[in-house]
């Protein structure tokens, strides 16, 4: 898929994507990938000490990432649900990267379709969430899955280091 040479959009994601749309996408993704009757519930719970994130980049007139964040144990439980594994089968880190990555991929793909212009998705990644860009360029849903902390965040890309103006050349 080739991209048009469109100029980047100046608007922050909050003007392009409302919370209801993200929630309705999650409402479709969860029963489909995580299991019948499963849901991402937008009711906050206290965040855990440790988190892991899976994300996909969206590159287009608006550029940023769709990031899914939860505790490592939640990531494992999600993976077991996505892959429909049963004890005594256990999931390994490759399974988690793949399952969470696919969740991020499907969330990201649907969010991409709502944004203006033509965009493409990067490959799923897992680890510590990418740095955020402008603070107002963030659309975040804080909630839970089966009572566990989980967030879905659509965040603008951080500016590239060379664009910073406050470095003093040596």
């Amino acid at each position: 898929m080739t991209l048009s040479e469109a100029a980047p959009i100046a608007q922050p994601i909050t003007e392009l994507l409302d919370a209801e749309t993200v929630q309705s996408i999650a409402d479709e993704v969860w029963p489909s990938l995580v299991g019948d009757g499963e849901a991402f519930v937008p009711v906050p719970v206290p965040p855990p000490a440790d988190v892991v994130s899976a994300w996909v980049d969206i590159i287009g007139p608006w550029t940023g990432s769709v990031v899914l964040t939860c505790a490592p144990a939640t990531a494992e439980a999600l993976t077991e649900s996505v892959l429909m594994t049963r004890p005594p089968t256990v999931v390994d880190s490759e399974d988690v990267a793949d399952a969470l990555g696919e969740l991020a991929n499907v969330l990201g793909g649907n969010i991409k379709s709502v944004l203006p212009g033509e965009s493409r998705l990067g490959l799923p990644q897992i680890g510590s969430a990418p740095s955020r860009g402008r603070l107002d360029d963030v659309r975040s849903l804080v909630g839970q899955w089966r009572g566990n902390f989980l967030t879905i965040t659509v965040q603008g890309a951080a500016p590239a280091p060379h664009a910073e103006r406050n470095e003093v050349p040596l």
């Binding site: 996408i25 479709e28 029963p31 849901a39 519930v41 009711v43 649907n110 379709s113």
Partner: protein, 274 residues
Amino acid sequence: MTLTATSFDWVRQLVHRESAIVLQPGKEYLVEARLLPMAQQLGCAGVSELVETVRNHPDPAKTRRIVEALTTNETSWFRDGDPFTAFTSTVLPQLVAARRPDERLQIWSAACSSGQEAYTIAMLLSDALPNAATRVSITATDLSRQMVERTRAGRFSQLEVNRGLPATMLVRHFTRSGNEWEISPTLRRMVTATECNLAAPLPRLGPFDVVYLRNVLIYFDLPTKQAILTRVRQLMRPDGWLFLGAAETTLGVDDNWERVVLGRGSAYRPRKGA
């Protein structure tokens, strides 16, 4: 399964009272699945807790939501195939031949839910007839106000358009709107949606050339089934066609109908002299 017997019983009685629909024992899983999202949204631990909450603090809005959650059908496009291929190949040509060119064909989708059946018919008609919009009107009714509004809106989620809708129809008859898909304005205008409780005396509708009454009779007890079929027949043209769900029949229920084999399925026509 967290649903208690008393909770299931309360729900069963509520639904029967409000809609005459019968939830047989064994349908506990359905109640659990359909009410769990509502229970979670309201912060209840499970469906039984939701039921207790509503029993102790009666709330018409919550009661209505419960009834609606349990009285919607499984919805897909072109459900079971045959009643729609038969419509295009056999029923429609016969009707067009039997009616005057200026007579509008009247079609009734009698348990329309979110509108998939009504718009399936609209798509078939627009592909089969020139000027379908002026030759046909489709009445879509449902017990639920929420479903009637959904049918009027003609907007469907990604999950919904995935259900049995040929991709070629999706691209020709729908446009994307945010994360949803909207039926084209031409097709939307072909459908008029209103509330209607089949288990009660019917408003003045029709007379209909074709009625789709699919997968709704199964929820009713025998006397109600018979009453509904009688009322429906009274709103039909004598040479009209009735389509029931794939596993349904008028046999043993109402013998004022003649069964006609169509493809691998069948349709029912008012028996002459009935």
